[in-house]
Amino acid sequence: MLHHEPKPLTEPVRMTDGIAIQVRDLHVGYDGREVLHGISFEVKAGETMVVLGGSGSGKSTLLRTLIGLEKPTSGEIWLHGQEFCSMSKHDANDLRKKIGVSFQSGALFGSMTVGENVALPLQEHTALDDSTIEIMVRLKLEEVGLAGYEDYMPAQLSGGMKKRAAIARALAMDPEILFFDEPSAGLDPIVAAGIDDLILKLHKAFKMTIVVVTHELASAYLIADRMMLIDRGNVIAVGSKEELQASAVPRVRQFLDRVPNDETVEDATYFDRLTGGIDI
């Protein structure tokens, strides 16, 4: 199993190296507080990497930085051989057309129908005529199991259907890398299993690189080729599910075995906390 092993900042990774994403010594912070403390990892082309971590571990910040919504304070993100953080806005937008993102809430545009949501990137970034776009939209919705829902408004869909529609929109431009933010969050186990199946199906059908950020262990074990565990802004484990399951690192074991943090406090500390340190 690989542990946190930052590589020296050297020459860029190329597609021929078979690496789709390489992150090097990534530091990200808000308001002077650092959230990610020098993260480094790689995602091979065509693999599904699941990023695991508890609440506040920094996994969502990592995802937001990978998709360009947050600027790192230092470090590099290479996507298909191009350094994402330092490139011009124009080049970054060109690169963004090759990635798809499925947000936790779906983030469908509430004023547009499902079909219009899926059609939007095609209308804005391609010269396809309306009838071709219409066919593409039907195809994408068919792929995610939402055939016939083109004219529905997002508000008319259930939670699972919204996630599927968001995945269809993320697939619209045939991305090379697909990011998922908490795909099973807020869904019942049956619907969540359906989303897991869909991710597996997409991976199998299109061989695209998939990065999934989640805290759902069952889902992670099912869909991951490799998993990475983040804790308090650091990568504490990377490897296959078997490697992670065999880990003896205490924080890894605690997360995988779902052991709560020890909240026992000394009597004196507890008393001080209650009284605010005032002598009574």
Partner: protein, 248 residues
């Protein structure tokens, strides 16, 4: 103020320059906004400017009667409506309807990660979301103002015909005689600036919304208060400019 100016400059660039470079503004989104800002506001703008016309005629007559100049009521109403009250009252109504709606719409999109989704799809929120609102405001507010000016004069005529010895024909004739083109044009120039101001403040507050539902409410309130202040400040500046550069 700085970010307001930057947002306005980017939106105006998206409306004016970008189409010349082949990046077209969405006609459907602009028409949708124009309908919401302009056409749907017609009933309330008509009613309010009509009432303002009646009120202003009554208040003018209160003073003019003392000088035996009740016949000047029509011209007082016409000049005041076209130069000041029409543009200002229309802008106030539009702030309440559309400025707040812009902030709420964009703020809700921010909370729902829709703005993030736009960015990850390589779509800039300014040309996509803000620019159609700017265009709609800059076109529809002068149109609404023109209609509001007319409704104000109609309101004044109610008093003029009923209590000041005018017939409908003589009242409108007196109103038209009192107006010069400059009165109407200065009012319309102000209304264009008001439209740009309302769109800029509403969209800026929406984009600055935090992450919770409560923040959307706060943005909406701030958008209304700041828009009213900014519109009155812009009104003062342009009134000063028109007064000193183009005296009657």
């Amino acid at each position: 103020m700085g970010d307001l100016a930057v947002l306005s400059a980017r939106a105006i660039r998206a409306v004016v320059v970008a189409p010349l470079q082949g990046r077209k503004l969405s006609t459907a989104r602009s028409i949708h906004q124009a309908m919401a800002v302009g056409v749907e506001a017609l009933p309330i703008v008509s009613l309010i400017t009509f009432f303002i016309g009646v009120i202003f005629a009554l208040q003018s007559a209160y003073e003019l009667r003392r000088f035996g100049a009740l016949g000047l009521t029509a011209s007082a109403v016409a000049v005041s409506m076209t130069r000041e009250l029409g543009p200002l009252m229309t802008a106030i109504v539009v702030i309440g309807r559309s400025g707040s709606a812009f902030a709420a719409e964009i703020g809700t999109m921010k909370v729902n990660e829709e703005i993030d989704a736009l960015q990850t799809m390589a779509l800039d929120p300014v040309p996509f979301l803000v620019a159609p609102k700017f265009l709609a405001m800059a076109i529809m507010l002068p149109c609404l103002t023109t209609w509001g000016d007319f409704m104000g004069i109609v309101g004044g005529s109610v008093f003029g015909v009923s209590s000041a010895g005018f017939t409908l024909s003589t009242y409108f004739h007196a109103s038209l005689n009192a107006l010069v083109l400059r009165d109407v044009v200065t009012g319309l120039i102000k209304s264009i600036m008001f439209g740009i101001t309302i769109a800029a403040v509403g969209c800026r507050e929406g984009l600055a919304t935090g992450l919770g539902a409560e923040d959307v409410g706060r943005s909406t309130t701030t958008a209304v208060v700041n828009s009213i202040f900014m519109v009155i400040a812009v009104d003062l500046v342009f009134t000063l400019i028109f007064y000193f550069t183009a005296p009657r």
